[in-house]
């Protein structure tokens, strides 16, 4: 499915598609990708990797395409780009061998989650007695009675380190593939544009007149952008919550669980709720959407990612509500199991779209500036 031979065929087909787009150009103002296409005459792998990662999958170019299937030219840019993106994730993955996890990603993610939850229960049972997993604890430090603090810190620290290394190497592979130098990233104006565009999802607004994108059918709108904002800003809030918790723990000597009115809980809860709403919305759109411009091969990856994000948060919120009862230890194991799986798979699942899309936005900012000069 995502083996080398198929990937070569896909590159060839994408290059053919780009040549048709280049001779048509009706989509010129539909989104920022098409003006970029016109900058090229030939479409090699680095170029296609750049263009496909710049694509935000709004599908406007499919619905508006006079050469979309059933036309014999069979142009389906959103689908083509989605599959190219995954090929590029595999190509950039560090260590390379783990790139294989992108194939059958849905299954990989599910199995990993099951293993991680299992491990947490075993650990919980090991550090306590098995029946203590159904005991109510209260007071500060109750979570660490289930899983010792040192174990939590050590494991999360190691995983965090691995994620950072894998991201830096993956990003470098993407950035330098078309000959761009890492030193160019010192230019803060590129970051200004890219971070702004990422923060507002400007590229999902369509062209300059802000018509939005197609999500379910050929109607334009902004709902996908708003649901995505829910997930993205929810995620950022939970990161803030985690960071605050670390500060409380290490510098203020206040240990989890934190009070309901503490900043840790407020940001975490708000973030969790936002992410759950976002995930539900995105899933709804995906289920209802016209299947033709979507790659059926990627549904496993997409749904497993959304489900994992949602479950991390749902179990987290449940834990918050039930933390004083007898279900706390098992919920903690389940929640930490999801969190562990999420961070373990982070560099080898849909999460990486963030990395390469940001990279593509940086490249876009660079191209845009060159054009203006």
């Amino acid at each position: 499915m995502f083996n080398k031979e198929d990937s070569i065929l896909r590159l060839k087909d994408a290059s053919r598609a780009m040549e048709i787009c280049n001779a048509c150009r009706y989509c010129e103002t539909l989104c920022p990708v098409f003006p970029q296409i016109t900058q090229f005459r030939t479409f090699d792998k680095p170029t296609l990797n750049y263009l496909s990662n710049l694509c935000h999958n709004c599908k406007g170019c499919y619905h508006g395409c006079q050469y979309a299937p059933p036309h014999e030219f069979n142009l389906n840019i959103p689908k083509t780009f989605s599959e190219l993106r995954v090929d590029s994730y595999i190509q950039y993955a560090f260590p390379n061998i783990l790139g294989k996890l992108f194939a059958k990603n849905g299954t990989v993610v599910s199995i990993l989650i099951a293993i991680c939850i299992g491990l947490l229960f075993i650990a919980g049972a090991y550090f306590n007695s098995a029946d203590s997993l159904f005991t109510a604890y209260d007071g500060k430090g109750s979570f660490f009675k289930v899983i010792p603090y040192e174990i939590m810190t050590l494991v999360s620290g190691l995983i965090f380190f691995h994620v950072i290394v894998a991201f830096i190497i993956g990003f470098k592979r993407f950035w330098t593939e078309n000959g761009d130098k890492m030193s160019e990233l010192a230019d803060l104006s590129l970051w200004k544009y890219a971070m702004g565009a990422a923060a507002t999802l400007k590229h999902l607004d369509g062209g300059d007149n802000g018509h939005g994108c197609n999500h379910i059918d050929d109607r334009f709108g902004h709902s996908r952008k708003w649901y995505h904002h829910g997930v993205m800003y929810g995620f950022i809030l939970t990161l803030i919550s985690t960071t605050l918790a670390a500060i409380y723990h290490h510098f203020l000597g206040i240990h989890a669980p934190y009070d309901f009115d503490s900043l840790v809980v407020i940001t975490g809860t708000l973030g969790g709720i936002l992410m759950v709403i976002g995930c539900i919305g995105l899933t709804y759109i995906k289920i209802k959407a016209d299947p033709i411009p979507m790659s059926q091969k990627l549904l496993g990856m997409d749904y497993s990612f959304i489900a994992m994000l949602a479950l991390v948060n749902i179990t987290g919120l449940l834990l918050l509500v039930l933390r004083d009862g007898i279900w706390m230890p098992s919920l903690l194991c389940i929640h930490l199991g999801f969190v562990l799986a999420f961070f373990l798979i982070m560099p080898y699942c849909k999460f990486v779209h963030l990395l390469y899309r940001l990279g593509a936005l940086l490249k876009y900012a660079k191209f845009d500036r060159q054009n203006q000069n």
Binding site: A23, T29, Q66
Partner: protein
Amino acid sequence: MNKVIVIGGGNAALCAAISAADEGAKVILLESSPRLWRGGNSQHTRNMRVYHPKPTETLVDSYPLEEYYEDLLKVTKNETNEELAKLTLKSSLDVYNWMLEKGIYFQPSLKGTLSLSRTNAFFLGGGKTLVNREYQIATDLGVEILYEHEVLNVKLKNNEVEFLEVKLPNGKIEKFKADAYVAASGGFESNREWLREAWGENSKNYLIRGTKFNQGKVLKSLLKQGIQKIGKEEQGHAVAVDGRAPLYDGGIVTRLDCVPFGIVLNDEGKRFYDEGEDFWPKRYAIWGRLVASQPNQVGHVIIDSKSFDLFMPSVFEPTKADTLEELAEKLNLPINQVIKTIAEFNSAVVDGNFDLTQLDNCITKGLEVNKTHWARRIDTPPYYGYTLRPGVTFTYLGVKIDKDARVYMENGKAMTNLFATGEMVAGNILSQGYLAGIGMTIGGVFGRIAGKGAANV
């Protein structure tokens, strides 16, 4: 409440359906194609020519009525219906504003491919995105859209439509009745049989740039029953397109812009027309006819590597060779004649200052057919060849209407409940030639008038 049936599913039909629904009519739209092929030739269009006295949201500068009318007279060689033409041009701005109001998106003016952003409003994403939006608007207004419903016959009784005979998706034929009807189902350019009758055997080698659903059945049915025709059956608008384009729906990407930079040979290896007569946008339309009159209805553009990057990339790879002999062989042309033609051409070239941006002074002298601009020797390998064929855009034959989009009979009587718009009525304004984007204007203007009229008969 009147019941209105709109026949056709392109921009003109949709403008009629939306207007009729706005007037409170119960509207059914019959589109002969399946859902994924809907929209007729509109899905291949890109813009609409709009008069405007001052800049608008997406149109720069101004395009005065007088200039628009002069442009129209130029292409039609003064043969137009002045009343209808002026009505069309004047109403073009109303249609544009109406579309904006309805939530149709136009793209911001850009340094476009044909530099038309002064005279033409570009639909965001092109004609298919426009048509999608129009279907949404129509659906939201309660218009019932029936796909794969092909109108075979419009049954007339005196100057009134009695009913329609419609072929359903299951192949059965059923009668459809309404208070009023709008015919907006295009020309007959996709009907090979009719083309052969009207244009002769050679038409089998023509490609159709647009939809395969313009079979002209409604048009034929009306003309057979005494409706006044307009335009000549033997006239069609054709341009030269890449010979490898699909038989239907090749659309914009099959155009080739390389003619002015090379020479064009026929199947006998001979040149037949001045390739550098004028800028390509002003000449591409005549090359359809030129190629159509050559043996086998083909032409072969030969350029060398000096010119390869001077035009918009084409969708099909050119035939490429390191020698002219090899190129001629690959293109299946008589090698000796090709070499001779090119040698004669090369020795007739008078050196000048090659300049794409103006009618330059690079010419040939002493040839039977001289090239009057951009003439450069074909001498730098690799050489490239593109085969051209006539690509039919639309036909001019239609039905006569008045300013209320009402259809007329040969006996001079107006139909009581039949209106028409789109390619079917374009011949009232365009007797010949073409002005980029005016087809969509005609469809929009008379679509709105027809829809309103039909809702209020």
